[in-house]
């Protein structure tokens, strides 16, 4: 079932045309990545879906409801953790629910426990490591009541080892809750490892130049990084990116 549908979206900033006739769909329970070079307009797509910007042309629907210009229709995890420094971890992960209505601390506590943040429930953000902050930010997005989560390069600021850790952790969580996720990255391996489908974005102006179905089943093991198929995927994606 189609959850999110982006139809012929066009957006310019003054004379700078960033998106042109962009269309794609995300199905319920699917993990879709948007892969594109820096400055290609990935964050702009999120700002449009999130209602922060209005499209010049085209429409965005979420479960058959038009959501362009409507803030709060999606759950969001930004590139920086963006936790409120005066809130404890527990209060921070509840923020998304609070904004939309009712907070449920019990579920939040359980989730923190599972994420290894149980002992840090009452810690403030400056007492957490970078990876822990990202976990908290993701749990906040996961607990928010909206039906789809947008993640904007959530791991790009982390070091390689922490990033691998976080990717594995994200997959575990995804397997358990099966949320619908739209994930922005410019890391090819990350996109292959995590997603069901990859949308390759060409830049200036951005549109989907190729759609790539990831041929690996679930649950995924770390071992696939060394799989021959994995390298093959990487090569063809690289190729698609290069040719645009």
């Amino acid at each position: 079932m189609i959850q999110l549908s982006v139809n012929s979206l066009t957006k310019s900033f003054d004379s700078n045309r960033v998106l042109s006739n962009l269309s794609f769909q995300v199905n319920e329970g699917e993990f879709v990545s948007i892969l594109g070079p820096s400055g290609s307009g990935k964050s702009t797509i999120f700002n449009l879906i999130g209602g922060m910007l209005l499209p010049d042309e085209g429409s965005i629907t979420l479960g058959n409801v038009e959501i362009s210009g409507k803030r709060g229709s999606i759950s969001y995890m930004p590139q920086t953790p963006s936790l409120m420094p005066w809130r404890t971890t527990l209060q921070n992960v509840l923020l998304g629910q609070e904004i939309m209505g009712k907070a449920d601390p019990e579920t939040a506590r359980k989730m923190l426990q599972k994420a290894g943040l149980g002992d840090y429930e009452n810690a403030f953000p400056h007492e957490l490591s970078g990876g822990m902050k990202q976990r908290a930010a993701f749990i906040r997005a996961l607990l928010s009541p909206q039906p789809i989560i947008l993640l904007d390069e959530p791991f790009s600021a982390l070091d390689e080892l922490t990033r691998l850790d976080m990717q594995k952790w994200l997959l575990d969580i995804w397997n358990e809750h099966k949320p619908t996720i739209l994930f922005v990255t410019h890391n090819i391996e990350e996109a292959i490892y995590l997603s069901d489908r990859i949308l390759i974005l060409g830049s200036k102006p951005a549109k989907v130049v190729q759609e790539f179905k990831v041929p690996f089943g679930r649950p995924r093991m770390e071992g696939i990084f060394l799989d021959k198929n994995f390298l093959e995927c990487k090569r063809s994606i690289h190729h698609a990116l290069k040719n645009h």
């Binding site: 999130g50 922060m52 963006s82 420094p85 005066w86 923020l95 904004i99 939309m100 400056h126």
Partner: protein, 255 residues
């Protein structure tokens, strides 16, 4: 407490040294007491004259606390209104800055002409000196909220009210407390100035009486009382800050 002691001993030692020098200089040069009394005289007067001084002190404390409370409330309210209504901010803020250029010493007698010798003109004077630092500090705090936090709140669907209560207000607290510290010390100043206008009791009254009868030792008692009072108010705000902004004090404690 130990921390206060560790940090406080240096200025305390300097102060003590200054007093000793003062005492010696006055004695050696045989300066008459009405010109400059030695510190021991002042201390003696403070102890001996305590019963006579206490009602004045009480009156000033009460006046400055009331004025400070009103000034804080009005300062905060002004900041919130100016922040939430950009149109009003653009038209009022410059005038507000201009209003601070009117010297209180000039304004105070006028207030007496308009409102008489009651408590009202005094409260107005204190409010006038108190509210501005609070308004500026709070406004700065509201406006300096990091873009990434604001972006998250908006993406998550926060309305104007939620943006204010869940982001701007808590974010502005440290800045607000800087304003409160300034205002707290100003409020004692404002109270004394307003008492000069004419009052039944207060350190300002005590001071006018003392200086007109050449009781310089009493003038100094009043000066030290004002300083101590300001310090006490400052400490009170500091304490409130510690209690209210736990996340900040823990943060700086770790550094």
């Amino acid at each position: 407490m130990i921390n206060v002691f560790r940090k406080g001993w240096r200025p305390a030692a300097v102060l003590l040294l200054l007093f000793i020098l003062w005492e010696m200089a006055v004695n050696l040069a045989e300066v008459p007491a009405w010109l400059l009394p030695p510190p021991t005289d002042i201390i003696q007067e403070a102890v001996m004259g305590w019963e006579g001084f206490r009602p004045h002190l009480q009156s000033t404390v009460l006046l400055s606390l009331c004025g400070f409370a009103i000034g804080t409330a009005i300062g905060l309210l002004t900041a919130v209104i100016l922040h939430l209504l950009p149109f009003i901010r653009e038209s009022i803020y410059p005038l507000l800055i201009l209003s601070q250029n009117v010297p209180i010493i000039v304004l105070a007698p006028l207030l007496v002409v308009w409102f008489g010798f009651g408590i009202l003109p005094k409260l107005i004077v204190i409010t006038l000196v108190c509210f501005f630092p609070i308004t500026v500090a709070a406004l700065d705090g509201f406006r300096q909220t990091p873009g990434e936090l604001r972006h998250y709140m908006l993406m998550a669907g926060a309305g104007r009210g939620q943006l204010f209560w869940k982001l701007e207000l808590p974010y502005s607290l440290p800045s607000l407390f800087s304003g409160l510290k300034i205002s707290a010390t100003y409020s004692v100043m404002g109270a004394v100035i307003s008492e000069w206008l004419g009052a039944k009791a207060g350190i300002g009254v005590f001071m006018t009486l003392a200086s007109s009868s050449f009781r310089t030792d009493r003038v100094f008692v009043a000066i030290f009382a004002i300083m101590l009072l300001s310090l006490l108010f400052f400490g009170g705000i500091l304490l409130a800050e510690r209690l209210l902004i736990k996340w900040k004090s823990r943060e700086s404690g770790r550094k």
